[in-house]
């Protein structure tokens, strides 16, 4: 088996994923093609420079429909001989794209790939692509399907995280992100997104804000009504977790990941590829994993995904120097730390999606970029990125610097 290396990582700043977000004016193809162009330019890629573009994208409808990956390639300066494939592993799509690319390289099915993803949540809202999982009675009843927010609240209830625990975690995420921004720690991967005239549109992640326990305390729980009243998802959660008498609704807009727009791309190739293009490898893939879990609690996937990726790498949790655990909801990360008795000082050290947002299809690639940048900045050897995934899955990747 060959080794797969990361040669470069690029990402857009994350914009607020609503109509008043700065990136709302940019199409999903526009976000994608500009980030592909940036990667090509930085690495002098030309012609049939990579085997494929594997592009994570969740809501594949409207302008994100019809194989957005191919549209992104055609909209970019990349050669038309490079195809493109859109993939959907919900929140881990960006990481899954990277893992697929790395594994194809390792297996010899191509010298190099561009992998990453995009999501314009402001332009193509989450959930607008329908899906049987939420409404087909054959699926919903057998699997006790509930929305993610209810799952996050089930985690909090079952594993004993209070509203204060979750809020404190969120405040820390914001503080860490603000510090990272102040110290310019994101500048290696993050570009300033410009328009067709070269005029900057957005240079920094725009959702970081100052917050404290008091201001978060005033927010209403987001999933209480749908859980307790209409249509009453809590009862479904309790059917699956009958040891619970009720579900504590602790999550709200302030301790959950933000709705965001953004894109990220990673250049992955063999050692030979680097020599051919005169590129210096930054990190090597140690192992990748993906796993299915109970769809009701849904978001605990990072735990078995991590166990699996560690096993595959022949490592133990203590061998990992730095973690990125996607902050889909505060309870997801709190449960991860609880399960592995892991040190918060090694996890999401520059904040995460609670502070900066979670553009679904891109986040996996963004957090891997952030992880590698921080490994280089703080001189650590080994890093692990993992995400929880809708309908009960998890994915993880271990990289080490070379």
């Amino acid at each position: 088996m060959l080794d797969a290396y990361i040669y470069d990582t690029v990402r857009t700043p994350r914009g607020k994923g609503k109509k008043d977000g700065t990136l709302h004016e940019v199409t999903a193809v526009g976000l994608s093609s500009r980030i592909l162009n940036e990667l090509a330019k930085r690495n002098n890629l030309s012609g049939h420079a990579v085997e494929d573009v594997i592009w994570g994208n969740v809501t594949q409808i409207g302008e994100q429909g019809a194989c957005l990956a191919r549209s992104a390639v055609l909209g970019s300066d990349l050669d038309e001989s490079i195809p493109g494939v859109s993939i959907n592993r919900f929140c881990a799509s960006g990481l899954e794209a990277v893992n697929m690319a790395a594994n194809q390289v390792r297996g010899g099915a191509g010298d190099a790939f561009i992998a990453g993803g995009v999501e314009s949540m402001s332009r193509v809202p989450m959930g607008t692509d329908g899906g049987a999982i939420a409404i087909d009675p054959e699926l919903t009843m057998k699997n006790y399907v509930v929305p993610q927010g209810i799952s996050a609240d089930i985690i909090a209830t079952k594993f004993g995280f209070s509203r204060d625990d979750c809020d404190a975690y969120a405040v820390e995420s914001q503080n860490r992100a603000a510090l990272a921004e102040a110290e310019n720690r994101f500048s290696k991967s993050r570009i300033s997104l410009k328009d067709q005239n070269g005029i900057p549109i957005l240079a920094k992640d725009e959702m970081i804000r100052k917050t404290d326990m008091q201001s978060l305390g005033s927010l209403r729980p987001s999933f209480k009504d749908m859980g307790e009243v209409m249509p009453g998802f809590d009862k479904i959660g309790i059917m699956r977790y009958p040891e619970l008498e009720k579900i504590n609704h602790v999550h709200h807009a302030g301790n959950s990941s933000g709705i965001a727009d953004g894109s990220a791309a990673i250049l992955i190739g063999t050692e030979e590829y680097g020599k051919k293009y005169n590129l210096k490898p930054r990190a090597k893939f140690k192992a990748t994993s993906r796993i299915g879990t109970d769809p009701t609690i849904m978001l605990t996937g990072p735990i078995p995904a991590t166990e699996r990726v560690l096993k595959s790498a022949g490592m133990e949790i203590g061998d990992i120097d730095l973690f990125e655990v996607n902050e889909a909801f505060a309870s997801v990360v709190l449960r991860f730390m609880q399960a592995f008795d892991a040190d918060h000082n090694k996890i999401n050290v520059n904040g995460g999606a609670i502070a900066m947002g979670h553009p679904l299809g891109a986040t996996g690639a963004i957090i891997l970029s952030t992880l590698l940048d921080e490994m280089e900045r703080s001189d650590r050897e080994t890093g692990l990125a993992t995400l929880c995934i809708g309908s009960g899955m998890g994915a993880a990747t271990i990289i080490e610097r070379v």
């Binding site: 009675p137 249509p231 009862k235 479904i236 059917m239 009958p242 040891e243 619970l244 008498e245």
Partner: protein, 734 residues
């Protein structure tokens, strides 16, 4: 035999009149389906016929499908009953679709012969599914008629196009109460709901329907779903509004049924999948799911208990033969407390004269006021009018004088549960009443045989055990003492039929049948609390089994002090045989704490100041800490299930129950025992006796001898038998 009469009137309207000979209510048979098919072929091919009216020759339109139709379909394809059912159901779809299209040219959508349904009275099941396939539905405006699709109540769903047509007519949201709850409404309410098109006077029904048929245009004969521009009301599943409806529907069906009723799930799948395809494909999908549910043992058990056997018991399946009708004319009720007052009310409501006796005038009056309150609620809800209210109230005579009981032909004693008090009442009453009068005790705990020892004529002494609240509970337990005679049994059964409740007859033994099964269930709950099993798991296990109340909540409702009283009495009665392992400490602790249940606003649960139950009391965890290693949820479920089922089986083994049908129907109606199972015996048959024995073997090792398999189960397992196969010989009941 002719079930549908066919005639053509002078205006060229074919009248197809449903009139099954020798029956008061039309039911659809295979023969009927064939006749209907033949008549439609004639009408559609006969140029003289301009239109068709389908009506009934009886006061009502139809009660539904003869269950033999489905049973017969199962046999048509040899070893493949599902295929037989599917083919048979598709045949029905084909017929109804023929009626619906009525010769319409599929391209021009012209040339259909108008078909009207003229509903004379009550129309249920196929009785509404047939009209739904017609072009217009007329019904006589009579508040007493009930129209609807009640299939779900017996564990199936409307499978002759009713599901598909109603959803397409009303949309999934508006069709839900009719399909998922089996709501039956009067014609005027069905018109408001958009299901019936026109209301008529009794005498106008046929002429109005004929007039419509003669004047209908081609457009009038195109069903909305056969029109190109059709859009489902409320949206299809992947329409934004429809998506929300379907997302909510799954949640509500699943949480309400706790996953225990396969028919509701299958119905919802038929609706969801059917809503995304053309109409005739939707019918095929409906047929697939309907077949699936008819093949499900749960549906079979539910139909057996809630339809066939419930009706059989109400019609006197266990009544002593050769005794003439013992209709009650005048009933004497002793004791005007909650039970006595409730019994007075249901008796008067059935038109029986009531003498309600209590020691004090005001208490007797209070008993009558209870009836008045219930009647006022009825008036408020427009269920009865003021006139009916006063007629009922006038039937109740409160009194303090025993002489007033003189002309009564049935006495029901509902005084304090104390043998001495009851004995005294028995003597006093017997001194007054006629020699033919039957004396009944509404005791829930005291053996009838010993109470009868106070009687001069114990063969006329019987137990009639009502459940509380009397006006709402459907079951009445009739208890025979050791010498109770057939006349008393017949009297009690005829009385129960008069008040429109369902009777079961059992022999005298501690706690009779219902309480015998319920008490071990609540004890098991308390025992699990004392073992450190998470209380929420106990309650949720009960809910997922389909029991209306968890054991802890049920204890709160019936009160802790009653529980403590029963424990003490049982201990005294059993002496050394009282099981060592029990959950009594839990009841005693709650009793000491003054947490007596709902009535003290504190029990296993906490209650808010308005008396609304909130959450389980934290003190439970403090006294009996939740243990780290919890048993599997299945094990909790099995303990709760078997605690009741084994008692039912033992009651049958000991001869307390004489008929398993009574055991099953009684359990469902009496205390809401998992209706999806068809009752304890239905459950055993469904799970398989050997599997039940295996469960018993496992639990008797870990939990004790109370779970040891009764001999009858061991014997039956050895011979690979089932309860219904061995003890009930009836094709329909199988």
């Amino acid at each position: 035999m002719t079930e549908f009469k066919y005639s053509i009137d002078s205006d060229g309207v074919a009248i197809i009149s449903w009139d099954v000979p020798n029956k008061t209510m039309n039911v659809m048979s295979l023969e009927g389906l064939n006749e209907l098919d033949k008549h439609f072929d004639s009408a559609l091919s006969d140029d003289k016929v301009k239109g068709i009216v389908v009506t009934s020759g009886k006061r009502d339109f139809a009660g539904g499908m003869d269950l033999n139709v489905l049973a017969d379909m199962k046999t048509t394809q040899g070893e493949n009953p599902a295929l037989g059912l599917f083919n048979g159901i598709m045949q029905i779809h084909k017929l109804l679709r023929k009626i619906e299209l009525a010769g319409m040219n599929p391209k021009t959508k012209k040339g259909a012969k108008p078909v009207a349904a003229a509903i004379t009275g009550t129309a249920a099941g196929i009785g509404l599914e047939l009209p739904l396939a017609c072009h217009r539905i007329f019904a006589i405006d009579n508040e007493k008629s009930k129209i609807g699709l009640p299939e779900i109540l017996v564990g199936i769903f409307p499978g002759a196009g009713g599901t598909t047509r109603l959803v397409r007519k009303l949309g999934a949201m508006n069709a839900a109460p009719f399909l998922l709850e089996g709501k039956m409404l009067s014609p005027s309410k069905m018109k408001l709901a958009g299901i019936i098109d026109e209301l008529t006077d009794k005498n106008d029904l046929l002429s109005r329907a004929k007039a419509w048929v003669l004047n209908a245009t081609d457009a009038d004969c195109i069903k909305p779903w056969d029109d190109k521009s059709y859009k489902m009301p409320g949206g299809e599943p992947y329409h934004p509004n429809g998506y929300m409806t379907f997302a909510g529907a799954s949640v509500m069906v699943n949480s309400k049924t706790q996953g225990a009723f396969p028919a509701a799930k299958a119905l919802l799948s038929a609706v969801y999948e059917g809503a995304q395809v053309p109409f005739e494909t939707a019918l095929k999908i409906e047929a697939r799911w309907f077949t699936k549910i008819l093949m499900n043992p749960s549906s079979e058990s539910m139909i057996r208990s809630l339809f066939i056997n419930k009706e059989a018991l109400e019609k006197g399946a266990v009544r002593p033969k050769d005794i003439p009708n013992q209709k009650v004319e005048k009933i004497g009720i002793i004791g005007a407390g909650m039970m006595g007052a409730g019994i007075s009310y249901v008796s008067a409501l059935a038109g029986i004269k009531v003498v309600l006796l209590d020691m004090k005038e005001e208490d007797a009056q209070k008993g009558k006021s209870h009836a008045e309150n219930l009647l006022n609620i009825g008036v408020k809800r427009k269920k009865i009018d003021e006139k009916k209210k006063s007629v009922v109230l006038d039937l109740i005579t409160p009194t303090t004088k025993f002489e007033d009981l003189k002309d009564c032909d049935l006495i029901v004693e509902a005084v304090f549960e104390d043998p001495a008090v009851k004995a005294e009442v028995t003597k006093k009453v017997e001194a007054i009443i006629d020699k033919n009068c039957i004396f009944a005790s509404n005791t829930s705990t005291l053996p009838i045989t010993s109470l009868a020892s106070a009687s001069k004529r114990p063969e006329q002494f019987i137990g009639i055990h009502f459940f509380s609240p009397v006006d709402r509970m459907l079951l009445v337990e009739i208890i025979k003492g050791s010498v109770t005679g057939d006349m008393a049994v017949a009297k009690a059964l005829d009385y129960v039929r008069q008040i429109k409740k369902t009777p079961i007859v059992v022999n005298d033994a501690r706690f009779f049948y219902a309480n015998r099964c319920i008490i071990p269930y609540v004890n098991e709950g308390a025992m699990m609390v004392s073992e450190g099993i998470t209380p929420a798991s106990i309650e949720n296990a009960a809910k997922q089994l389909g029991f209306p109340l968890g054991p802890l909540q049920l204890t709160d409702e019936t009160s802790i002090d009653l529980g403590v009283k029963i424990i003490k009495a049982t201990r005294a009665a059993m002496g050394n045989e009282y099981p060592e392992k029990n959950g009594d400490e839990v009841s005693f602790k709650l009793f000491e704490e003054g947490r007596l249940g709902r009535k003290t606003n504190a029990g296993f649960y906490d209650y808010d100041e308005k008396g609304k139950r909130t959450y389980l009391w934290n003190g439970l965890n403090e006294t009996w800490p939740v243990k780290k290693h919890q048993p599997k949820f299945e094990e909790i479920k099995n303990r709760l299930m078997l605690s009741q089922v084994l008692e039912a089986v033992k009651a049958f083994e000991e001869g307390v129950l004489e008929d398993i049908r009574e055991g099953d129907v009684g359990a469902i109606l009496g205390w809401g025992f998992a209706p999806w199972s068809g009752g304890p015996f239905g459950w055993v048959d469904m799970v398989g006796i050997q599997n039940v024995v295996n469960m018993c073997n496992t639990l008797s090792v870990s939990e004790g001898q109370r779970f040891a398999a009764p001999q009858i189960l061991l014997d039956m397992a050895k011979n690979n038998e089932t309860f219904y196969g061995k003890f009930i010989k009836n094709k329909n009941a199988a």
